[in-house]
């Protein structure tokens, strides 16, 4: 973009000036700026103080409820904690982990409005801690041990028994 003043140089800097109570925004080059006695301000002036509101923000502030007259809201109550659908819509918070079931299809609608989707998606498997993994392994090994002993495969059983001892030792050291 060219400088607003000389129209020759490129202008990358924007200056704001308050002139007669009005804010002037000018794109000018450094030479013209110097001539006019303007300097750059480092303060974050002129950026919106808060980010623009989105459906997400508006749900949070309960604004999505304003259009629905109260008597049109379905009369549902969560039997687990006693929260009514009306109260949920006005506060924006569920009462317990059974509410979403109690409120049924309405929850999906709200999720669609906020997140744009109605289906949960999670491919990240919960990684088991080493201790939990060890416990699982132990279960498997113990049943293998039983099997080998039942089949009189004592050598194999002995191997498993050693493995179990190793894991147990490892768990105790933690």
């Amino acid at each position: 973009m060219k400088c607003q003043v000389c129209n020759i140089n490129d202008a990358q800097i924007v200056f704001t000036q308050i002139v007669d109570n009005e804010k002037l925004v000018m794109r000018i080059c450094i030479d013209c700026a110097r001539e006019k006695g303007l300097s750059i301000e480092f303060e974050s002036a002129d950026i919106p103080e808060k980010s623009p509101k989105t459906a997400y923000d508006e749900f949070f502030e309960g604004k999505l409820n304003e259009d629905t007259p109260v008597h049109d809201l379905p009369d549902i109550t969560c039997l687990s904690c006693g929260l009514t659908f009306r109260a949920f819509k006005s506060d924006g918070l569920f009462g317990c982990d059974s509410c979403h079931e109690a409120f049924g299809g309405h929850v999906k609608e709200i999720l669609k409005q906020i997140h744009g989707y109605t289906e949960h998606k999670s491919f990240m498997k919960k990684r088991k801690s080493p201790r939990a993994k060890a416990r699982e392994d132990m279960k498997d090994l113990k049943s293998s041990l039983e099997r080998y002993v039942a089949n009189e495969e004592y050598e194999k059983a002995a191997e498993i028994r050693d493995k179990i001892a190793e894991i147990q030792k490892g768990m105790e050291e933690k």
Binding site: T54, G95, C96, K126
Partner: protein, 351 residues
């Protein structure tokens, strides 16, 4: 333990040295979880809150996270709660409520678990620089350890169940604290903020929800936690923030091409003020730090000083100043003490 003791140390996550930390100051990941079989915190009575609190602290201890440091906010003085808020360990929402609530702080403050805020658990981790993957791994690891000891509310249909529907699904909020002086100076920041909003990002001031944007610092986080996997959320953040970083770097290049003497002048004048002022408001300090940060990025000042800048932001806050002084101070006195501390810190910075 008294939170005041924390005020004398520097949290790990402010340590400089993370990737790209000229522009991204820190990365944060947070997972929201609730215990199965208990009502959500805002509806729980005193007794139930106490039970939830104990279950969580016990689970953390069992899982090896230790009881490290557990603060019950409802048992603390206001001044102590303020220290925790100033160190970003608890939110003001948590601090203001009665009943068994608090925070468990682990590993030199790089990780914490808020208990009984909006959800039973808010597990968070911080890292310096731009590293959303590692910080996610860190928080997921903590979550897994606790998950082994308790049962979280979860449904196949809706994923992790949270008090607010805005957090359902993954329960993940991942964010970066990013410094964009050049985009602000060239007024390109408006464009950036519009597109981040369209791309599903919330932008806040560096102090978090509901605060103003100052010091050219922005907290950017994903708005949506549902209907996408954790990996997708992270990849999206990496792409968008990566683009913003490039844009900022280009803008810095342009500014230096067109107005290098003005930029250098601004940086060095700021350092001059920091080295000599006798009175300094926090607002002024934040803006001066922004100029110095740019100077750091441009290689005008030695790298190791960015830790000092990061620490200054935390340790010159009102409650921290009062803790250092050992008594209550009014605003004017705080401004003087702040200037003293700042001068001290900048004494070694070579001009």
């Amino acid at each position: 333990m008294n939170p005041r003791i924390l005020s004398f140390s520097i949290p790990d996550w402010l340590n400089s040295g993370g990737p790209d930390d000229g522009i991204v100051i820190s990365s944060r990941a947070r997972l929201a979880r609730n215990l199965k079989g208990y009502v959500y915190a805002h509806r729980a009575g005193k007794k139930e809150l106490g039970e939830i609190f104990d279950v969580i602290v016990d689970a953390a201890a069992e899982s090896g996270l230790g009881r490290d440091t557990v603060f019950r906010t409802n048992e603390l003085e206001t001044s102590d709660r303020n220290i925790l808020i100033e160190r970003h360990l608890i939110s003001t929402a948590l601090a203001s409520k009665e009943g068994a609530r608090g925070v468990l702080v682990a590993g030199s403050e790089s990780a914490s678990v808020m208990i009984n805020e909006e959800d039973h658990l808010r597990i968070q981790a911080f890292l310096p620089g731009f590293d959303p993957e590692t910080v996610y791994d860190k928080v997921r690891d903590m979550e897994s350890k606790i998950a082994d000891e308790v049962q979280f509310s979860f449904s196949k249909e809706f994923g992790y169940l949270t008090a607010c529907p805005t957090n359902m699904g993954t329960g993940l909020r991942i964010s970066v604290l990013i410094h964009l002086p050049a985009l602000v100076l060239t007024k390109e920041i408006q464009k950036v903020l519009r597109s981040t909003s369209q791309l599903g990002f919330a932008v806040r001031g560096y102090k978090g929800e509901g605060t103003d944007i100052i010091g050219n610092m922005f907290q950017m986080s994903n708005q949506k936690s549902f209907g996408r996997t954790e990996l997708e959320i992270i990849e999206n953040l990496k792409t968008v923030i990566g683009n913003i970083i490039d844009y900022e770097k280009k803008s810095i290049g342009l500014l230096m091409k067109e107005a290098s003497s003005q930029i250098l002048d601004k940086v060095w004048r700021s350092i001059g003020i920091l080295k000599t002022a006798r009175v300094m408001s926090s607002h002024e300090l934040i803006n001066l730090i922004s100029a110095v940060r740019l100077g750091l990025y441009l290689g005008l000042i030695e790298k190791h000083d960015s830790l000092m800048l990061n620490d200054l932001m935390i340790s010159t806050q009102p409650e921290h100043l009062q803790a250092k002084h050992g008594a209550v101070l009014d605003a004017a006195e705080r401004d003087v003490l702040r200037a003293d501390i700042v001068r001290e810190r900048f004494v070694d910075l070579n001009v």
